[in-house]
Symmetry: C2
Subunit: 322 residues, 2 copies
């Protein structure tokens, strides 16, 4: 990997921080792109170049690519809150579609600048009568369409990946992180009456959880070996019930954690990450393959991910638990 | 129609001028939206309100809708040159996708503001492996997807129409207008050596030509009676060979018009407007219907359209022929 010049957008985000650490540790020359300078200056190693850029500013994106001249781009930036997308749908179109286009267009002038665009399982199929369930879904579908189109129209090496639910240490708002934070808050609470119970929407609902560090390795493999015009799914391959995940996390503490397990008979729902594994084969284009076809496989067991998340919050101090 | 408040974008364009004239003549209160004030102030009747707005400026679009408060919007504005879309693909995404979104979003605050978005036969099917043939095609497909999505996400009365090749008097760069202009230039040329021959790419290629005034009537019918989630095709239903169209136009002149008829055995190609009539039924969504299902039908015969185009150029004076 030594000598690779990698630009990573969304570098201050949950996955971005892991990606910066991984590529830097592997000897790549990394540029970490952030919307604004992070409050904690130590989130990146000192050798990592930091670049502040508002990706929804076309001129700024062009100038950045001209200045950095990356050989590879890992495009993780984007907005990903469904409720926020209802409140400001245009912001989602601008951030997730136009900003990606600005990057793709700026890279057209770079010979062989490979770019990986991180997609979402919450995309919808444009030919489906029900339409997108929310503006976030629409934005991720259009982001995929323009990425595919720039690949075919301009023969650009554009790569697409679709991760499942990523978990691990760091600033995540996913289920595992929220419960782990709740556990550590209970452990450090001064009185038992301080905390509301943590509520499970469903014990039986299944989710495909994958360690974010495994996903970052998959991004690396796709950047190096992936084909344009294919969507690479990044899955653990083993969905888990939310109730089982909660029990595993709670086994790591001796505190009496207030829990609301929800109704006993909650009907098992499966999220799109799970159904996608079996349900997407009818889509003619783009082809969807597991990243396993490129030789990648998950390495970090779920129990390790969960333990690391707890350690993250136990070491975070009170300010990280708010 | 009296009392209807109709806002028409792209009002200075070929179709826009006819639309403004039609809705004004029918008694509607028309606002003609133009990017800049036209050089000829008389292209609109004095009672027609003119509004200068750059539709790619979100704030300006919002202010316009707040000020005009239209009950119906006929959105004809957009860029439609395939070669230009190759030169500046982002401009096409901004003009044909984002500007339409700004309009849709601004109309969300208007109770029952119906909007008709004019699409293109050159769109592509997002699930098709070959991808879009050019950035213009991509932009029109995404414009349709966001229009459909705003209709379902926000329960907006968004209507979609797809006209075939529109012809008629006025500033068009289509085949019929170009040849008519060539004929009138020949008639008014001072020496025979002045003109290059007009070259047909194919005599046998078929195109579905429809008078722009018939199309404007279809837009009116769709605005009044159309359903959201349907694409209404506006076709003449009778494709014609380019060679036959040329012969018909040439029958209206006694001048010796220099022509290059192309190879005798040119293979018949059919444009997407023709193939669309039979070839699109496999698309599950959106449903595509002829505007005929709403009771519309073409009224102006092709020979009348062609005669009117010639009259337009004969009355245009030299400056209209350049």
């Amino acid at each position: 990997m030594s000598g690779r010049k990698v630009l990573i957008t969304g570098a201050a985000g949950f996955t971005g921080r892991h990606a910066v650490r991984y590529f830097h540790a592997a000897g790549a020359e990394v540029t970490a792109v952030v919307r604004r300078l992070p409050e904690d200056p130590d989130i990146f190693a000192p050798e990592v170049a930091k670049y502040v850029c508002d990706l929804s500013d076309q001129g700024a994106v062009h100038a950045m690519i001209e200045a950095v001249r990356p050989e590879e781009v890992l495009h993780l930036a984007g907005r990903n809150s469904v409720p926020e997308s209802w409140r400001d749908p245009l912001l989602y179109m601008e951030t997730n579609v136009m900003a990606t286009l600005y990057l793709l267009e700026a890279l057209r002038s770079q010979p062989a600048g490979r770019i990986l665009v991180a997609g979402s399982r919450l995309k919808y199929r444009p030919g489906a009568e029900e339409g997108p369930p929310h503006p976030y879904s629409l934005s991720k579908t259009l982001e995929e369409l323009v990425s595919l189109a720039w690949g075919t129209l301009f023969k650009q090496p554009v790569l697409l990946a679709e991760p499942c639910n990523l978990i691990g240490p760091g600033p995540s708002t996913g289920f595992c992180s929220l419960l782990a934070r709740h556990i550590v808050r209970t452990e450090t609470a001064e009185s038992e009456a301080e905390l509301q119970p943590f509520r499970l929407s469903s014990r039986l609902a299944q989710r495909d959880f994958l360690d974010v560090r495994d996903a970052v390795r998959a991004y690396d493999v796709i950047l190096r070996k992936g084909d344009t015009g294919v969507v690479y799914r990044i899955d653990s391959g083993a969905p888990h019930r939310l109730g089982d995940i909660a029990a595993e996390l709670l086994a790591h503490t001796s505190a009496a954690v207030p829990m609301d397990w929800g109704p006993e008979d909650s009907s098992p729902d499966h999220d799109s990450a799970v159904s996608a594994v079996s349900g997407r084969e009818d889509t003619a284009y783009p082809a969807e393959h597991s990243a396993a076809v490129l030789g990648w496989k998950p390495e970090i067991p779920l129990v390790q991910s969960l333990a690391d998340i707890l350690d993250h919050y136990r070491g975070a101090g009170k300010e990280g638990l708010v």
